[in-house]
């Protein structure tokens, strides 16, 4: 999952959608399956309800020390026992984007401990952040998570901690999409 990725919500795709909820702002249309395309989707199938595009990009806040810590323990995507996934599209407010870099960094980590919170849930939960804001998409970020059934509680805890931070007061739209691999126990 690198370069530009398009997620399609519809009747086709390798992941079964088990739940969708709007945490903030408007929801997306309900769909049964999620597809993940690595090339740009030229024309969506007529049963496609929505498409969301994002791209792997450089890190925006993490320091060298944080990146090195992360590199030591972050797991890869695609582990065979990770039959659960979540896709969480998020849009932050204009107030967030109008902040200077030092102000955003201070809220992100020194205040909200975003990286530190995430680190406590590794290596059980694998994660990939895709950027959408510069693509003129409806969301700023698409974060993809993979984990085993035993880590569902840890994952819910991770989200609850992040959503209680000051950083999250700048989140104006967030959808929580849960998924399972078809055929998984």
């Amino acid at each position: 999952m690198s370069g530009q990725i398009t997620f399609t919500g519809g009747a086709e795709g390798g992941w079964r959608i088990t739940g969708m909820s709007a945490v903030a702002g408007a929801s997306l249309a309900m769909a049964e399956r999620l597809g993940i395309e690595t090339a740009q989707v030229e024309r969506a199938d007529e049963r496609t309800r929505w498409t969301l595009r994002g791209i792997s990009s450089n890190m925006r806040y993490a320091t060298r020390a944080e990146l090195d810590s992360l590199a030591r323990i972050q797991p890869p995507l695609g582990r065979s026992d990770c039959t659960c996934a979540a896709l969480i599209p998020i849009r932050k407010s204009a107030a967030w984007w109008n902040l200077a870099q030092d102000e955003r960094r201070a809220i992100f980590e020194e205040d909200s401990r975003h990286n530190a919170i995430g680190m406590r849930h590794l290596p059980g939960i694998a994660r990939r952040l895709l950027h959408s804001r510069d693509l003129s998409e409806p969301f700023d970020f698409l974060t993809w998570f993979e984990f085993g059934p035993e880590a569902k509680g840890s994952f819910d805890g991770l989200l609850a901690e992040l959503r209680a931070t000051r950083e999250w007061t700048f989140v104006e739209r967030e959808i929580d999409i849960r998924l399972e691999r078809p055929g998984a126990a």
Copy 2:
């Protein structure tokens, strides 16, 4: 010049190209005119030699103190006496993008004084930075400058200072395109 912008090099457009030089890496095809489109160009004219897309985005390095200083003296685009312009597409190396945020910031400002150098040339030179990297474009940034004929020397000095910095050792492709408004003295 906000949102997504497409620059077209070809036979049409509101600016006359007076010079094009490759400072680093491969050049672009020579063209007579530069057009600036605010909507996505669906299909380029057959005489269009190249198109470059970028988008206004949030600041990536500037602190609040720097943004406030900049806001006090930065001029708007479109001043009637600014009959000269430059478009400078730049791509930085993978080594740059693999650096952590604190490492890039330290090279950008504490070492290379990018913002401080630019500030010394205000308000004579108006500037707009567009981001292209997340759009999968051949360049990472497109910077547009406008100034009066009397500021040409100042502009050349600005570029010479920036190109001598440590930050510029990460620039692997840079084209310097100079322009004038047709009919301007």
